[in-house]
Amino acid sequence: SVNPMAYEAQFFGFTPQTCMLRVYIAFQDYLFEMMLVVESVILKKLVGFPDCKISPFQIRKSTEKFLLFMKDHFDKLFSKMEEVLLQLVLNIPENVLLPEDKVQEQYPYSKEQFQALQDEIRQLQQQYKAEASAGQALRAELEEQKAVQAELEKILQWFDGLENICREHGTGNFKESFAFLTQNSKKLQDVLKEVEEKSK
């Protein structure tokens, strides 16, 4: 049934009850110490009155009597003080939310919502990885294309070279030249045949 005052402990860094207990014990120790000092002072003083009939036992009795009385009042007063301090000073009113907990009210996420948010983040991470690898694949294809393009251009250059050779040897349009050559050869053949016939 004890209120652990956990929220106060979060704020103060100690539980208020611990703090009060610490104060109580310290106060009580002082009271006891003071009483012992009083008693020892009185006993010392009595040494100066040898003929008085007061025994140390009597003084001890007086000390205990006074201490008992003080202790009783001390406890009553202390519990009153503790009650007031725990209520008014060392406590955090119900309607107060500590700054570090503002997120609890800004983001009151249920377990399902939290899970959904985590899933979405996981999905986004996967998506990003996929997108990144797609990017790599595209870049790899660009490299491939460069090589293939170079090969194809080499072949085209080869064709150009072929045509340049023809051009260098006066055959601008190879096809026509070839046809022309073929015609000439045919004519040559005809002429050759005529010559042969005439010579016969």
Partner: protein
């Protein structure tokens, strides 16, 4: 309303006053009656010393507790936090006692930040890939063109 530090000081002072009032000189003298009869002045002196020493020790202890617990600062900041919450009626959130429950909301802002970052970089990556894809498509067209050119040259020769 008085600040927490003021209330604390007042309550402790009141405690001390009442404690001293309870342990009055009369009470003290009546407990040490035999010595009091013998030496009333001395009794008074011892009592006065007892009271002032007790008060000094208790005040010193309180100051020590304040210093150790940094209470002045904490009281003032709690006063401020409580003042800010004055307008609110209903009870505020409190730890549920189940850490994994409570940590969720504390983590959410970071997750939301992470989510928007991921969305941003994913969008950038998609845009970037879009550009690369355009180059790839252009490259494919160029290669198809070259293939056609080569085919045309070959057919011409054929």
């Amino acid at each position: 309303a008085p600040s927490r530090a003021q209330v604390f000081a007042t309550v402790v002072d009141t405690f001390l006053e009442k404690l001293v009032a309870a342990g009055s000189y009369q009470r003290f003298a009546s407990c040490y009656r035999c010595f009091y009869k013998l030496q009333p002045e001395m009794t008074r002196g011892i009592y006065d010393q007892f009271v002032s020493q007790l008060q000094a020790s208790i005040k010193e202890e309180i100051q020590e507790v304040k210093d150790e617990g940094n209470l002045e600062v904490l009281f003032n900041s709690l006063d401020k936090i409580a003042e800010e919450a004055q307008s609110r009626e209903e009870p505020a959130w409190r730890p549920s006692g189940i850490p994994e429950e409570d940590v969720r909301s504390a983590v959410v802002p970071y997750l939301l930040k992470h989510r928007s970052y991921l969305r941003k970089v994913l969008k950038e990556k998609e845009e970037e890939n879009g550009k690369v894809a355009e180059s790839v498509l252009a490259g494919r067209e160029r290669i198809a063109e070259l293939q056609q050119l080569i085919q045309a040259r070959k057919r011409a020769w054929q």
